[in-house]
């Protein structure tokens, strides 16, 4: 491959091109024309054929849930495109001006240059409002897609070795996306975003020791000052995007290095990837999907108003409208502030301790930290050092799924609290009643969700096992000679059966002395956590059971829990 200099037409772009690159040169002296010449030119200077050879036919598995990350990626591209357009018009300045644009109701109103230019984009630049709304909708979709993508990765166990670090990178992308969202939201300097900044200011001031000065530095003096919009702008269009793009690139490099995970299925193993090649099928589908995502965002921006700053007016510390809410992804933070009961603040040692700020901040940071750390926690509990490339069905990892459900319930409670006033007014409830209900939900809900989810998962595993061993209900009722009615069960085919049995369950760690003959408290703790994780489990059906299983009619499921020593553990007939 290195020494044939006399190739002339090796770079045509047909699928056969990759093969042709090695030996077809002299055979077709006139093929290709410009494309071939251009490819050769590039190749002679970049050795890009190596990249094509490596990645052109790389296999990607197919599943709808794998598209969530793609949605995030594509909406980010849309954000970059639309945001770049906006920077050509936006003035990140808080200099006071009097509005003199096309929008009559605001004429003569005193506002900052930032607000004025945002209105200018909306009302004086043709298509400007469209791009502004594309930018905002794309941002909302970006964070939503990241969130769903994270849930997919979590509930299928895709974060397990070797992907723990990529989970952390993805987590950082999530946090960066929220930071991008908030900084962008604050730029127009309208009444709503100004109140958002006011809350951030109050939040920062409540932090012990450093709060006052942090706020003072951030705002360049007293709130609101004249510096914050310019500073957030630098963060929003320079610093945060640069970091985000770097981590995004790293995230994708890791996807290539690790190769994508796949769901269990016939023909799929932990050592292969089954799917379609990048060229041409995946490129067509994924490339087309970018345009579909962009199209959906464009439609939303055409039909649905988002962030009508002209209704809010410029920022002023005095007015505020009822029913103020942040963009959805900040809701959980705003809700956390709302849920604190009265009186959580005291003076001690001549300083003010704002527990009503500190507790929600700790709760939020703790929630995020738990998300970031989860792969390492589960890895420690299982002690599993193997690579995992086959995804779990959520039901087959009941404790993990239940933990996830508890986390989602907690988040949802905080998020719902951000709309507590709207719920109260729309459903004619008292605000106190709504808040107290959500407080109970946030505290008790995760436990309930954990319990219910775990039981549901185990029930589903039992059902799968039942189907594997005894087939599925065919809907055909047969009357036996004795008068008894039975429903005929039909066996699933080999491929479906494989999909149902291709999973593993862990047994809890047995507490045994280590090499020194000791049992340390750490080992004891880990063994206890391991028992909590894996005590309840349903083992996949074994071949032997399949063979003897037909006609087995005992009540299934009994004794399948706590089957410590019986291995796959069905009750013996």
């Amino acid at each position: 491959m290195t020494s044939t200099i006399d190739r002339t037409g090796s770079g045509d772009s047909t699928p056969a091109g990759a093969a042709a690159a090695t030996d077809n040169g002299p055979a077709k002296p006139k093929s290709g024309g410009f494309t071939a010449a251009a490819s050769n030119y590039l190749e002679d200077r970049t050795s890009i054929s190596g990249v094509v050879k490596e990645f052109g036919r790389k296999i990607f598995p197919d599943h709808w849930s794998f598209m969530l990350g793609e949605v995030a990626l594509y909406s980010f591209v849309v954000i970059i495109l639309s945001g770049t357009f906006l920077t050509f018009f936006f003035q990140a300045s808080m200099v006071e001006t009097h509005y003199d644009g096309a929008f009559v109701p605001m004429k003569g109103v005193e506002m900052s240059a930032a607000m004025e230019s945002a209105l200018h984009i909306s009302f004086d630049v043709r298509g400007g409002l469209l791009v502004r709304q594309i930018h905002h909708w794309a941002a909302l979709l970006f964070i939503a897609a990241i969130g769903l993508h994270m849930l997919r990765v979590f509930f299928t166990g895709a974060f397990r070795k070797p992907r723990e670090l990529n989970w952390v990178i993805g987590f950082l992308l999530f946090v960066l996306a929220m930071a991008e969202g908030f900084t962008g939201y604050s730029l127009p300097d309208d009444l709503l975003s100004g109140n958002g900044l006011r809350i951030i200011d109050g939040l920062i001031k409540g932090i012990p020791v450093i709060g006052t000065w942090t706020s003072f530095l951030l705002f360049g003096g007293e709130f609101p000052g004249t510096a914050i919009v310019g500073r957030l702008y630098t963060l929003h269009i320079l610093l945060l995007p640069a970091i985000l793009v770097a981590f995004l690139a790293l995230h994708l490099v890791f996807v290539i290095v690790h190769k994508h995970t796949q769901y269990a299925g016939a023909g799929r193993t932990n050592n292969n990837v089954v799917g379609y090649p990048i060229l041409p099928v995946y490129a067509a589908k994924a490339g087309g999907f970018f345009f579909l995502v962009f199209g959906v965002i464009a439609l939303m921006a055409s039909f649905f108003t988002i962030n009508p700053i002209w209704n809010y007016g410029p920022y002023d510390p005095s007015p505020v409208s009822a029913g103020t809410q942040p963009d959805w992804y900040i809701g959980f933070a705003d809700g956390a502030l709302r849920l604190i009961p009265p009186g959580w603040e005291f003076v001690w040692l001549d300083h003010t301790w704002s527990i009503n700020i500190i507790v929600p901040v700790i709760a939020l940071v703790g929630l995020l930290a738990a998300v970031a750390a989860y792969p390492f926690i589960e890895g420690w509990v299982t002690g599993d050092k193997r690579e995992h490339h086959i995804l779990d069905r959520p039901r087959n990892a009941p404790t993990r799924t239940a933990i996830g459900a508890a986390g989602v319930t907690f988040y949802a409670g905080l998020w719902a609290a951000a709309s507590s006033d709207l719920m109260a007014t729309h459903f004619q409830l008292s605000i106190e009643g709504v808040i107290h209900t959500i407080q109970a939900w946030v505290v008790l809900g995760p436990f309930l969700a954990f319990f219910v989810t775990k039981r549901v998962c185990i029930a589903l595993m039992k059902k799968d096992r039942e189907i594997v061993l005894h087939g599925f209900e065919s809907g055909r009722i047969v009357r036996l000679p004795g008068g008894e009615y039975i429903e005929v069960h039909e066996q699933v085919d080999d491929y479906e059966r494989w999909r149902l049995v291709d999973y593993e369950v862990y047994e809890p760690i047995m507490l045994r002395p280590n090499a020194k003959g000791q049992i340390t408290p750490g080992m004891r703790f880990r063994s206890r956590v391991s028992r909590w994780f894996f005590e309840d489990r349903i083992a996949p059906a074994q071949q032997q059971e399949l063979e003897s299983g037909h006609g087995h009619h005992g009540t299934h499921g009994d004794g399948t829990d706590h089957s410590l020593e019986e291995g796959p553990g069905l009750t013996k007939p």
Binding site: I59, A266, V273, K285, F291, P317, P319, W498, E507
Partner: protein, 356 residues
């Protein structure tokens, strides 16, 4: 039974055993997997476009039609740009401009997207491929060589040996960013003290209470029972630091039946005939407490629903705030206008560390 009996105590004890290929990696704890045999790839099912040339032709037609539709969408968007200009101040024109450029662009995007996806799904070769996976860690030879390179580099540079050089370098690297960090002190003015600023507002003895935002002074006789006024201090609108001052000085003025007010000792002369003035800035995180329920005499913050009872000197009756809204002592001047007796007697707005 497919037990891989490599239990937890092993992995705890084998932390030091560096040689461990990924095939033989520890499962940590016993794992139960099924011993049912993987039946292999299911037989390939051909698509209708593979079986029926007519369907393939139809699909081809659909794909290029979509691409042409996309071009039509782009042209439509261009035409809309010109056909729907924004007339000065006409909201309807802005709406049409937004709608039609957007719909045209969306059509252009959907045409490409649907066409490409349909092409990929219906016409491109429907052949699944299989890639082998390899352990993520490199081969032992590569790993050994990497270790060797670090070792050689250490030998050749003397990094581990010449500790004085190494440690002084580490020290220099730690120290050099410090001046850069200190520069960020410039984010806030050098000559201002936040605690001092947060402790005072522009209210002072004799400042007239004026309407927000017009700045018209308010007479006590204008304030009828049950009414509420949004108040700013006299002269605020002329300040260059208007917003910073307003963020501290905004006040709500209400008149209640004097019998409804509970007045604590020392505050007897802070109100005037049932007229009371309280800071509008929430003691939680600083939103304006702008909602007054006239019947219950409650003030509600729309941000986090802290609720203050005006009859009880604005103490918190619900929500995350702790401290009552600070009261502005007021009186009436010789012309009958409401004026402040002094500044607030405590810092207004959100709590901060140095506040006590």
């Amino acid at each position: 039974m497919a037990h891989d009996e490599v239990s937890g105590h092993d992995s705890a004890a084998s932390d030091s055993s560096a040689v461990e290929t990924s095939r033989a990696a520890s499962t940590g704890t016993a794992v139960i997997a099924s011993d049912v045999v993987n039946p292999g790839e299911p037989p390939h099912r051909k698509r209708v476009t593979d079986l029926d040339p007519k369907k393939a032709k139809h699909a081809q037609r659909t794909v290029y039609t979509l691409f042409y539709l996309s071009i039509a969408g782009s042209i439509f968007a261009l035409a809309a740009y010109m056909a729907f200009p924004i007339e000065d101040g006409d909201i309807a024109a802005i709406r049409l401009n937004n709608l039609f450029i957007g719909v045209g662009s969306a059509l252009a995007l959907f045409g490409i997207g649907l066409g490409a996806v349909h092409w990929g799904k219906a016409l491109m070769a429907d052949k699944e491929g299989i890639d082998e996976r390899h352990p993520i860690r490199g081969t032992q030879a590569t790993r050994d060589r990497a270790v060797e390179i670090f070792h050689e580099a250490d030998q050749e540079s003397g990094f581990g040996r010449r500790t004085l050089i190494r440690n002084s370098l580490i020290g220099a690297l730690v120290a050099f960013p410090l001046p850069g960090l200190v520069l960020f002190r410039g984010w806030a003015p050098q000559d201002e003290d936040p605690v001092e600023l947060l402790s005072h507002t522009m209210w002072k003895k004799g400042s007239r209470l004026t309407l927000d935002p017009s700045g018209i002074p308010v007479k006590a006789s204008d304030v009828t029972i049950g009414s509420v006024f949004h108040i700013i201090p006299e002269g605020l609108n002329e300040r260059h630091d208007l917003l910073e001052q307003k963020a501290k000085a905004a006040v709500l003025l209400m008149r209640l039946n004097p019998d409804d007010l509970t007045i604590s000792p020392g505050r007897e002369d802070w109100s005037y005939d049932g007229i009371v003035a309280y800071s509008k800035i929430c003691t939680h995180v600083g939103c304006p407490v702008a909602l007054y329920e006239q019947q219950t005499h409650h003030l509600l913050c729309p941000c986090h629903q802290s609720t203050f009872d005006v009859t009880k000197e604005c103490e918190v009756i619900f929500g995350p705030a702790k401290r009552p809204l600070p009261q502005l002592p007021i009186e009436v001047d010789s012309e009958g206008y409401l004026v402040a007796r002094s500044d607030f007697n405590e810092p207004v707005g959100p709590s901060f560390w140095e506040r006590s």
